[in-house]
């Protein structure tokens, strides 16, 4: 019980820290560079104080940070699927035509533009005279994803 409480305290502190940085200072600490920094620090600490308990703690802490990294963008950028569920369940809009009208009026309808902006700001694509071009690292990443998609026989919604 004490172990669980200890980790719960860590999650709470980490969560509050995220909120503090995001709400008050408008800084998103969920960045690959920050995660990499944590991992490097953990490797140094882990190899210096070589103990099983510390090693387990470091793995748990790093995994939590990585999970937060994948969870937070989903919370901040409400997805289109959830928007449709929200319209049906909470706003009681059921008719397909009205549902589509409300969906197209909502913020989510601008999600393609928003994701394009995120792709540019995160350095995945570059804008060259109004034309979008992928960076070399992005092409490598997409090739890895294509292999994963092929292996697991996953069908994507589009493209």
């Amino acid at each position: 019980m004490q172990v669980i409480l200890g980790y719960l305290a860590f999650f709470l502190i980490f969560f509050l820290l995220q909120i503090f940085f995001f709400r008050l200072l408008r800084i998103n600490i969920n960045k690959p560079s920050i995660i990499l920094f944590f991992i490097i620090i953990s490797i140094i600490i882990g190899s210096y104080f070589f103990s099983i308990e510390l090693l387990l703690n470091l793995i748990i802490i790093n995994l939590t940070i990585i999970c937060f990294y994948t969870l937070v963008p989903g919370i901040i950028n409400h997805g289109p699927g959830l928007e449709i569920i929200d319209l049906i369940a909470n706003k009681k809009i059921n008719k397909i035509n009205i549902l589509k009208k409300y969906f197209l009026k909502s913020k989510v309808s601008k999600s393609v533009e928003k994701r394009l902006q995120i792709n540019i700001s995160s350095g995945l694509i570059k804008l060259n005279r109004g034309k979008f071009v992928l960076k070399k690292n992005t092409i490598n990443m997409l090739n890895i994803f294509r292999i994963i998609k092929k292996i697991y026989r996953i069908k994507s919604d589009a493209y």
Binding site: Q2, V3, Y7, F22, R23, L55, L56, I60, L63, T64, I66, C67, T70, G74, I75, I76, H78, G79, P80, G81, L82, I84, I85, D86, I88, A89, N94, K95, I96, N97, L99, K100, F103, L104, V108, S109, S111, V112, R115, L116, N119, L124, I125, G130, K131, F132, V133, L134, L142, F145, I148, K149, Y152, R153, I154, K155, S156, D157, A158, Y159
Partner: protein
């Protein structure tokens, strides 16, 4: 000094996720069920196996190690699930794939090929095939109430983060 048991405890969750991913692959090949259901089944199968192993060796490991085994498996599987889910529905990835297919594409052309209209139709199709909503006389209704719980959970988190 790390003992053999320590090494097993450290590596077991990661190895278990690897086994789950193979199980998921087998389900994907031989089962006609939805990928999400295959993911959940493969997670639960190996998770119950981990619980059995943890119970069997609980006398030789500490509480911290028990917590580590369960928590690390859950976190690593969550990351695997995100990887699979992103291949299906990530808008960001879809846009990248589009630029990969049509290098030098403009914003106008992207929006012509992939816009809110397409997204709406795709999502409705996927929500329907995933058993989240159902259609009755040109109207949609919620079929699986668990999705409302998830929606409200994300709404609360969003309020805490942004509002």
């Amino acid at each position: 000094m790390l003992t053999k048991l320590n090494i097993i405890v450290i590596l077991l969750p990661f190895f278990s996720v690897f086994i789950s991913s193979i199980l998921f692959l087998i389900f994907q090949i031989f089962s006609n069920k939805n990928y999400l259901l295959n993911l959940i089944i493969s997670f639960l199968t190996i998770f119950s196996l981990i619980l059995v192993i943890t119970y069997k060796i609980s006398s030789s490991i500490s509480d911290k190690e028990v917590f580590y085994l369960i928590f690390t498996y859950m976190c690593t599987f969550y990351l695997f699930m995100c990887l699979i889910q992103s291949q299906v529905s990530s808008l960001q990835l879809t846009i990248l794939r589009m630029i990969y297919l049509y290098p030098g594409i403009s914003k106008k052309e992207i929006l012509k090929k992939y816009n809110a209209n397409n997204i709406f139709n795709e999502r409705i199709k996927r929500l329907e095939s995933g058993g989240m909503i159902y259609k009755k006389n040109s109207s949609f209704f919620i079929k699986n109430n668990k999705i409302i719980l998830y929606l409200n959970f994300t709404k609360i988190l969003k309020k805490i983060f942004i509002s």
